[in-house]
């Protein structure tokens, strides 16, 4: 069974249809890249998978491990194992990163019928993860993303992913706003989390991220539909030729 099976997905935002019949299938262990021009519906796809309010599924299904999750709340999807690494991670002033992570992990554990971790157990787990990703303790004490640099915010997303251990990770423009060094660090973190039980959907505008996170499949999204699917070499082609072939002069989505 596929980890994620998207069938004929239509999504409307503010009355406008943005996604017009997406089909996509990811198995465990696979990394798929979605590439496309600005305004093609990339972020809409990620929000639709995560269940954000205002992204209305008018047709089609999102099957996660065989279950249609369209009617689930964002927190239920998260607890089932869907993770979205945000393009613009949100600042939560006054809430310590550690507090937030513990709250999130225990919410998910409760959902799964597992015991909550106490403060000591959690700190132990967190230390381990932090060490793997080369994140400073100081960053854990600070308020969630507040005053973080672009690189720190993205690294914080990867830390959350590593703590929450989702089955499906959607990375929305994880490379945006990163210089090359930061990009390498983040990509390295993502690669560590690749594994047979996890599928990843990497959404990006540029090919350069895919030099570091090498995908198994590449899809081109334009006008709310997958226009072409191929191997990692497709990304290189796009880099060379741009998206002109897919955008043309037709409507901008």
């Amino acid at each position: 069974m596929a980890m994620l099976e998207i069938e004929n997905l239509h999504v409307t935002v503010d009355g406008a249809e943005i996604l017009k019949g997406i089909n996509l299938s990811l198995s465990g262990g696979e990394v798929h890249a979605i590439m496309g021009p600005n305004g093609s519906g990339k972020s809409t796809l990620s929000y639709a998978i995560a269940g954000r309010d205002g992204y209305d599924v008018t047709e089609g299904k999102i099957l996660f491990r065989g279950q249609d999750i369209v009617d689930l709340s964002p927190e239920e999807r998260a607890a089932e194992g869907v993770f979205l690494a945000f393009q613009y991670p949100v600042e939560i002033p006054g809430v310590a990163n550690t507090t937030f992570l513990k709250e999130a992990l225990n919410a998910i554990r409760r959902h799964r019928g597992e015991d909550e971790l106490d403060a000591m157990q959690f700190v132990r787990l967190l230390r381990e993860k932090v060490k793997e990703l080369g994140i400073s303790d100081e960053m854990l004490k600070r308020a969630v993303n507040a005053g973080f640099s672009g690189g720190e915010k993205k690294r914080n997303e990867i830390l959350q992913m590593s703590v929450l251990e989702p089955a499906l990770a959607v990375l929305d423009e994880t490379d945006s706003g990163l210089d090359i060094d930061a990009l390498k660090i983040v990509a390295d973190g993502v690669n560590r989390l690749r594994g047979p039980d996890r599928a990843m959907l990497v959404i990006t505008h540029y090919q350069r991220l895919l030099d570091y996170i090498v995908p198994d499949h590449v899809h081109v999204l334009a006008h709310g539909r997958i226009q072409q699917t191929g191997g990692k070499e497709l990304a290189l082609e796009l880099e060379k030729n741009g998206y002109a072939a897919f955008t043309g002069n037709t409507e901008a989505a």
Binding site: R52, D53, A78, G94, E103, A107, I108
Partner: protein
Amino acid sequence: MSATAETVDQVNTLKDEKYKYGFVTDIESDIAPPGLSEETIRFISAKKNEPEWLLAWRLKAFAYWQTIEDPDWQKPKFPKIDYQEASYYSAPKDMKDGPKSLDEVDPELLATYEKLGIPLREQEMLAGVAVDAVFDSVSVATTFKAKLEEAGVIFCPISEAVQRCPELVQKYMGSVVPFNDNSFATLNSAVFTDGSFVYIPKGVRCPMELSTYFRINEKNTGQFERTLIIADEGSYVSYLEGCTAPMRDENQLHAAVVELIAHDDAEIKYSTVQNWYPGDENGVGGIYNFVTKRAACRGRNSKVSWTQVETGSAITWKYPSCVLLGDNSVGEFYSIAITNNCQMADTGTKMIHIGRNTSSRIISKGISAGRSDQTYRGLVRMANKADGARNYTQCDSLLIGDRCGAHTVPYIESKNASAMVEHEATTSTISEDQLFYLRQRGIDEETAVALVVNGFCREVLQQLPMEFAVEAQKLVGISLEGSVG
């Protein structure tokens, strides 16, 4: 209906029934007949075996009260209060009338206590469970009392203080909040039934946080309580007031008076967590919490710090204030006010700088949700002799939803050119981005709101003593249940 509203509602139903029963059986002995007259006041004074001077003071206040009207400049409006309808003396509910054990207490109420993490023993006290002799003899209150007496600290009901140390009470009572201060303080002066009295002798650092929790005999304190705290030279005390559970208060108006006096080098830290019954979702019922709280920093280098977490009551109307008389004295006000459903609040502080180099700090965090409305109203006054005085004020408002209101009304009066006054204010909303981000990590919506709001209030929560802070944080979440979605 949200879980909290339901709980409160059930508690309310319970209390209505109790009230009816209680009234019928107790009327001859412990409850004064409804109405307010000189007779009522003489009755109260006699019940408490008060000295002549106190009765005279009460009567003076009552005579004055009859000549004045309640103020009406506040933002939350309410129908005129019929003072003749209420009963002004009701002895603490007799233990034998209360539930015999926690088994007899409304399970919804207990569920709320549990959410707040209140220990079983305190739950019993809060719910008014009869405390048996065995329990009493090992009670924390008794243990603490001995320890306090050893330090020379006097901590007792004010009616007891009137008997034990009348000279202290007579000297200080009404010296910070005079009987003619405002109509509610005047009424309180005439009819107050009980409250706390604290005296910390010279140079003593009170060995523990004083809390109304540990005053078993006071758990059913009436609606007109009066608190008087005196910190003598070089002493320190931290006092925690209130209770973090819905209280079954039979009466609508809660008009308390709190007076604090800090002498040279003394410090008083006064923390309140107020969670009176807020009324139902449609604004029916609930407490009018009209309290006059004022501190006099009389001594050099004295300091008073007010911290309040106001989540309950239909209307909260209070301005815990500091009169900074002593040179170098310091006044602080840290406030969190949360209003939900139809609650209203008009709260803030007054910092009156009279002495030289006095300083004050005001941090106010207001959270409005539902159809509620709140106003921060504050006065910073620099008198002409307050050379080098400073004030810093920060007022932040957070709005949840689009039907609530937040207003900031800062009054600044400076008669001294060397005084410095700073005021900062922000208004923000909980963003959909923040909620979605937290929910995407598995945190449900209500917990997400509680997290964001707790983050917003962090500076104030940090001022609370540790064990209180934890309860206050949970309370923030509970108060906002049902405010989104």
